[in-house]
């Protein structure tokens, strides 16, 4: 059975958390994609950029254009509100993970 769609659905919330974790250090989009890829999280640009904008509009991220190099790049960084949300989300994921372990009771590999 194709689990791609299920994975996409599950990833939606998960990716927001990952972005909030990764952006403790200021990064621009492509840099983030590479960084996340190295850490084993694959994300497409068409998902990443709109997601970061949504988080920014919610006040969880902040952004600024850096034009000091020959190429203008937009850097994102987590805000204080973002850190609070990130910690809450991380807690939820931790609890969900424990719950799955309890529920599967050794039947699910």
């Amino acid at each position: 059975m194709d689990t791609e769609n299920l994975e996409k659905e599950m990833n939606r919330g998960f990716l927001q958390l990952v972005i909030l974790i990764v952006l403790e250090t200021p990064m621009y989009g492509y840099m983030m994609m590479k960084d996340m890829e190295e850490k084993g999280v694959s994300i497409e640009e068409s998902t990443l950029y709109p997601l970061m904008r949504r988080l920014e509009s919610q006040g969880l991220l902040t952004s600024r254009w850096d034009t000091s190099e020959n190429k203008a790049r937009k850097y994102y960084q987590i805000t204080e509100d973002g850190r609070v949300v990130r910690d809450k989300l991380a807690d939820i994921v931790r609890r969900q993970s424990m719950l799955v372990e309890q529920l599967k009771g050794g039947d699910i590999r």
Binding site: S46, Y49, R53, A72
Partner: protein
């Protein structure tokens, strides 16, 4: 400047908007494509950028990712636009038909649109104006409730208002046929029947000959019912019911506005015949209203069948 890149961004920009404007989004995508070209091919020349563009998502799809949850009209409401417009439009049309049937001086399509019944072309021209005006009103309504989501309209269950077109049956056909034949029988022998009752000379019974025009109308109406029911065996569609209701309204429009001239055969007070005429006219008005409602419901059902399935 890479032409393909600018064309891609222009296409994306056609569909996106954001709090900081489309330019901010496009600048970021441009920066991303150039970075990716640099990373994957060692430079960001035209050839490399073209290769990256080939891997990028379709511009419209890309733009739609930015617009998720920012619809001007929510998808759920969008599918109701035509239905609600049709609802308002047919109410306006129904009011116009009733106005026409009752012989009022003007045909009201909108609160501000009136046309003389003498000028039918103005009336026809008013139909699209009315439709699109209501379309605009409905869109505006949905835009507002999309923006302020706390407003939850009570949705009208208007997909036929619960009315469903069942399959025509032999029994139903027989009933319609018998009804028509009975009317035909009375129609053909009315003179004899009335004379017979009048000859009985029963006291205090008013015998009034139904005027020919009214009998014609009753015969035509039952004939339309029979025809519609028969045609439903060939194509069971609500359009037929709507057309039948429309034709019946036309027949009534023709009849109601003409003098009936009841013939009082019982020799009783002539005022009674007038009272009978007033009574029958009142019944006709009720029938017109009911038929108009029926017409609206079948037309809406037709719309919902056609556009919402």
């Amino acid at each position: 400047m890479n032409k393909k890149l600018e064309a891609y961004l222009s296409e994306v920009g056609h569909y996106v908007s954001g709090p900081k404007g489309a330019d901010d989004i496009l600048d970021e995508i441009r920066s991303h494509i150039l970075d990716r070209a640099q990373e994957e091919f060692g430079n960001s020349d035209d050839e490399s950028v073209d290769k990256i563009l080939a891997k990028m998502e379709d511009p419209r799809e890309m733009a739609s990712r930015y617009s998720q949850g920012q619809d001007i009209i929510a998808p759920y409401y969008r599918k109701h636009i035509i239905l609600y417009t049709a609802f308002l439009f047919f109410i306006a049309l129904g009011v116009s038909v009733v106005s026409l049937v009752l012989g009022k001086g003007a045909i009201h399509l909108l609160p501000f649109f009136q046309s003389s019944e003498d000028n039918f072309l103005v009336f026809l021209g008013g139909l699209p104006i009315t439709f699109f005006t209501y379309f605009g009103i409905v869109c505006l309504f949905f835009m507002i409730i999309t923006k302020y989501r706390t407003v939850k309209p009570a949705w009208l269950m208007v997909e036929g208002s619960g009315k469903r077109l069942g399959k025509p049956t032999a029994l139903g056909f027989l009933g319609t046929l018998v009804g028509f034949l009975l009317v035909l029988l009375v129609y053909s022998f009315q003179g004899e029947i009335v004379s017979f009752i009048a000859d009985l000379s029963i006291k205090n019974v008013v015998v009034v000959k139904i005027p020919d025009i009214l009998m014609d109308a009753i015969l035509a109406t039952t004939g339309i019912d029979l025809l519609v029911y028969s045609l439903r065996f060939l194509a069971n569609t609500p359009v037929l019911e709507a057309a039948g209701a429309a034709f019946k309204l036309l027949v009534m429009a023709y009849v109601v506005r003409r003098p009936f001239g009841f013939e009082n055969l019982s020799g009783l007070d002539g005022g009674i015949a007038t009272a009978v005429e007033v009574g029958i006219r009142s019944v006709l008005v009720i029938v017109v209203v009911v038929t108009t409602i029926d017409l609206i419901r079948w037309l809406m059902y037709t719309f919902s069948e056609k556009y919402l399935r």
